[in-house]
Symmetry: C2
Subunit: 246 residues, 2 copies
């Protein structure tokens, strides 16, 4: 999809009515259908088995920067949530990523994925392969969570509506088409298959409950579109830095 096609937003259709919960959910899902990064050429190539070891390593090493920023983003949202009831619903996300002890948590699992694709823990943690475009995109996401109304930050997390499909496909693909990757590195994906639906279910309920004006509904859709752009821009930067040899 070209940048121009991606720029033809589903958001602005001169409608000013309040969507029903079903219509609203459908609008959110349609953002995913159009703009989620499963359709990015780099992901398409990954799923066709066309990426080199260096490209897979570049992706894992760069995506680490996103992973390590997720709990920072979630703590920013936590700090903006207006009640302890909402914080109680959100705080588990931070624990999912950070863990509480030893090797627990998603960041640790991502480091194991790094080792499984042949990257040392140190080079991943030192972020030597992380390219500026990935940093800028991820930092924009953290900044969005810090500074926007909390419900928009929650809406931006709704890419998790779309991730289980992508992740379950990816696990099969990596196992079949990239047999050189040590399968012990797949724990991160396995865990997300149960965490992501639970998290997106919570977030979707909040977004539907708290976006009770047409303007708020549209800002939620825009926040999700923004998040799709954050993910897409990371793959653009990774693709540029780790091009195919052909």
């Amino acid at each position: 999809m070209s940048e121009q096609e991606r720029g033809v937003s589903v958001l602005y259709q001169n409608e000013e009515n309040l969507w029903t919960p079903d219509e609203f959910t459908e609008r959110l899902k349609s953002v995913g259908r159009s703009f989620y990064h499963d359709k990015h050429p780099f992901h398409v190539a990954m799923h066709e088995g066309k990426l080199s070891r260096e490209q897979i390593r570049g992706w894992v090493a760069n995506r680490y920067y996103y992973q390590k920023s997720v709990p920072i983003k979630d703590a920013a949202i936590l700090s903006n949530l207006p009640s302890r009831e909402l914080r109680r619903q959100w705080i588990g996300r931070i624990i999912d990523h950070d863990g509480m002890h030893g090797g627990d948590g998603g960041i640790e699992a991502w480091l194991k994925l790094g080792e499984a694709v042949g990257l040392s823990r140190e080079e991943v943690e030192q972020e030597v392969r992380v390219v500026p475009g990935v940093r800028f995109a991820v930092d924009a996401y953290v900044n969005f969570a810090r500074t926007k109304p909390w419900i928009e930050a929650v809406a931006s997390s709704l890419t998790e509506l779309f991730s289980p499909d992508l992740i379950s496909k990816r696990m099969k693909v990596l196992e079949r088409l990239y047999p050189w990757i040590d399968k012990s590195g797949f724990d991160y994906f396995q865990n997300r298959l149960t965490q992501a639906p639970r998290d997106s279910d919570t977030a979707l309920k909040l977004v539907i409950a708290y976006c009770q004006t047409p303007a708020k509904q549209r800002r939620a859709v825009a926040a999700l579109r923004f998040k799709c752009d954050v993910l897409w821009a990371q793959l653009d930067a990774i693709e540029k830095a780790f091009p195919s040899k052909t």
Copy 2:
């Protein structure tokens, strides 16, 4: 102590050397000896049994605004911490205040204290008695945590070095001199007697470990002084809004 005396800071003594951990700890503790709110006239009057029911209620109702802001402040710090190891050390504070289920957590315990002094849960939660000076002071604290370097925000939490003494005295005083208060409301204080030393121990170790230049040490001392001012200003505002009848 007059404002002027309080203004004679221990911070600025034209010293530019790095303090040893012991010297540094002593500087931090000396801030507490001079500026912690145990010496505020309102607390002194409380501990002499001189406060009216209305004054106790005013204090509990206003202090609720501080309690409810503490996890917001801690989530802001969490979001600024540079590693998951540090976040693992900090996240428990949020759970201590928010709880994870039902009636757990410090905010809930504070609401029970409100009921024990004759305030309904609703009037405390609706913040009808909270005065502007308390809001400004507490909001300044949250803003400090959001915007200052994380180690200064951590240093600002070190008033917990001084709180167990004050709280254990307060529990005895409230029980003896204010027998009309339902003792079932004292859970908050009881819990803090074990939480505060653990938290201040963690925070003090971090401050000593991460403040390795004279300038950083002095900023940590200044942060703690700032926090003492936050607590002191709350009591000033409460004292003004709920004066003695004499």
